[in-house]
């Protein structure tokens, strides 16, 4: 059984560490906030100018002056702070954010990521993604392993215009988790979703990868 969107978010949440300042992208990454392990203090940054994002408001308490980068209504915490877009990206570009989790359309075995346009067909714009991948200390890409046609989205080289070159540290798909060696390039398979086999990942992955799965005692 492949991971659901929620389970992918939960897996990404395992990468959080106590005291981390974290930026979550739109879509599956936003769900990571629901799976912050108990006892861990994590501060969420929103690139439109907020540190310390609180939960979604109760019905009737929405504030149009208080939204996250996905334009959703949120709330503030006693420790929250607000700042301008220029300050926000100084924070991001300056390497002060520990972790970013971003959605992706394609990733490559050298750690490239594409997530903003399909030329001629779709143009969402880049938003803060290029700044995040180039400035944040650790970057996780979360994506479905294959497209609707069943073709691999984890590639030797991205076919779409890049968001960043050699910037991804970890790839979480619905089938497995890859670590990326950003310096030398190359993917290492470190985890399979329950019920997913190595053969299935081999069949569904265009990128080259090495097997770094823990060896099981029963020899499987």
């Amino acid at each position: 059984m492949a991971w659901t969107r929620e389970q992918m978010a939960e897996r990404a949440a395992h990468e959080l560490k106590d005291g981390y300042y974290v930026n979550l992208g739109i879509g599956i990454p936003t769900l990571v906030a629901n799976y912050i392990p108990c006892g861990l203090k994590v501060v969420l940054q929103s690139e439109n100018g907020m540190l310390g994002i609180g939960p979604f408001p109760f019905p009737g308490e929405e504030d149009p002056d208080l939204i996250n980068a996905g334009k959703q209504t949120v709330t503030q915490l006693p420790t929250s702070s607000y700042f301008s877009s220029a300050d926000s990206f100084a924070m991001i570009r300056g390497g002060h954010i520990d972790l970013a989790v971003l959605g992706a359309m394609e990733v490559s075995e050298s750690g490239d990521i594409a997530n903003w346009t399909i030329p001629g067909k779709m143009m969402k714009g880049v938003g803060g993604a290029m700044d995040l991948v180039s400035g944040v200390k650790h970057v996780i890409a979360v994506l479905e392993h294959t497209n609707k046609e069943g073709e691999s989205k984890i590639l030797k080289r991205c076919t779409l215009p890049l968001t960043g070159k050699a910037v991804i540290d970890l790839v979480i798909s619905d089938l497995c988790v890859f670590e990326v060696d950003r310096k030398k390039g190359g993917l290492v398979l470190i985890e399979l979703a329950p019920g997913v086999t190595l053969d299935l990942v081999r069949a569904k992955t265009e990128a080259a990868f090495t097997n770094g799965l823990p060896v099981r005692k029963d020899g499987q």
Partner: protein, 239 residues
């Protein structure tokens, strides 16, 4: 000294508009948009605009009004997102778009206001957005040179402002407004609450009045929310 306070958006814009001009407009998504001034720009009919703004409003709201009215020739933005009209006009070649990474956009505007003609950033290196831009290595990493952005007119929205033009923004409605206030040849601010001098705590002022040339009391704020997202109340509280 002539006062900075104008009675209406129309009066505040008087003498400042010309076809082909460049306008910066604050806001992120639909939050912190200078709604009153955008509406007045629509009414003015000024055309061929280059507009610098992170987004371009949304269906029936904000800068979308100018886009829909055919007044914008070029957008300098970071995100198109769910704005169908923006995407369609761009993909069909009817709108020029200079796409910027959001942080680069903010810093270019900051640089414009601070008198820094160019700077280097790692953002965008190795992507098509860096094509044609000078690059340089610093400590083994490649950085892209980006130029400042300035505008003929900046329009910004604040929560409170006094008659001297000191501004205070509220929560995430601050976003691009403070930097844009610094980068316009002329800066127009609209506020939800126009107050008398002495009403604002000087330590809390976000934009000092030096950056603001004209100020108006905004009217008819819709303050639309793009994605109302809530959580259920706990059962005990519902009783």
């Amino acid at each position: 000294m002539t006062g900075k306070v104008y009675g209406t958006a129309r009066a505040a814009l008087d003498g400042l508009l010309f076809d082909g001009m460049t306008i910066m407009s604050g806001g992120f998504g639909l939050s912190g948009n200078p709604e009153t001034l955008i509406f007045a720009l629509k009414e003015s009919g000024v055309r061929n605009l280059t507009v610098i703004s992170n987004n371009c409003g949304a269906d029936g709201f904000g800068l979308w009004l100018l886009l829909n009215n055919g007044q914008i020739k070029t957008m300098i933005s970071s995100y198109i997102g769910e704005n169908k009209l923006f995407e369609q006009l761009y993909l069909s070649g009817k709108l020029e778009l200079e796409l910027n990474p959001q942080g680069t956009l903010a810093e270019r505007i900051r640089a414009g206001g601070a008198g820094i003609p160019a700077f280097f950033t790692k953002t965008g290196a190795g992507t098509i957005l860096a094509e044609g831009k000078p690059v340089q290595e610093f400590e083994g990493e490649t950085y892209v040179m980006e130029r400042w952005l300035r505008a003929d007119l900046s329009i910004v929205k604040a929560w409170k402002g006094d008659t001297e033009g000191n501004l205070i923004y509220r929560k995430t409605a601050r976003n691009f407004n403070p930097v844009m206030a610094t980068a316009g040849k002329v800066t127009l601010a609209e506020v939800e609450h126009l107050v008398e001098p002495g009403s604002l705590e000087p330590d809390c002022v976000h934009t000092p009045g030096i950056y603001v040339d004209r100020i108006i009391q905004g009217t008819n704020y819709e303050k639309r929310i793009e994605r109302i997202t809530t959580r259920p109340r706990p059962a005990a509280e519902q009783a």
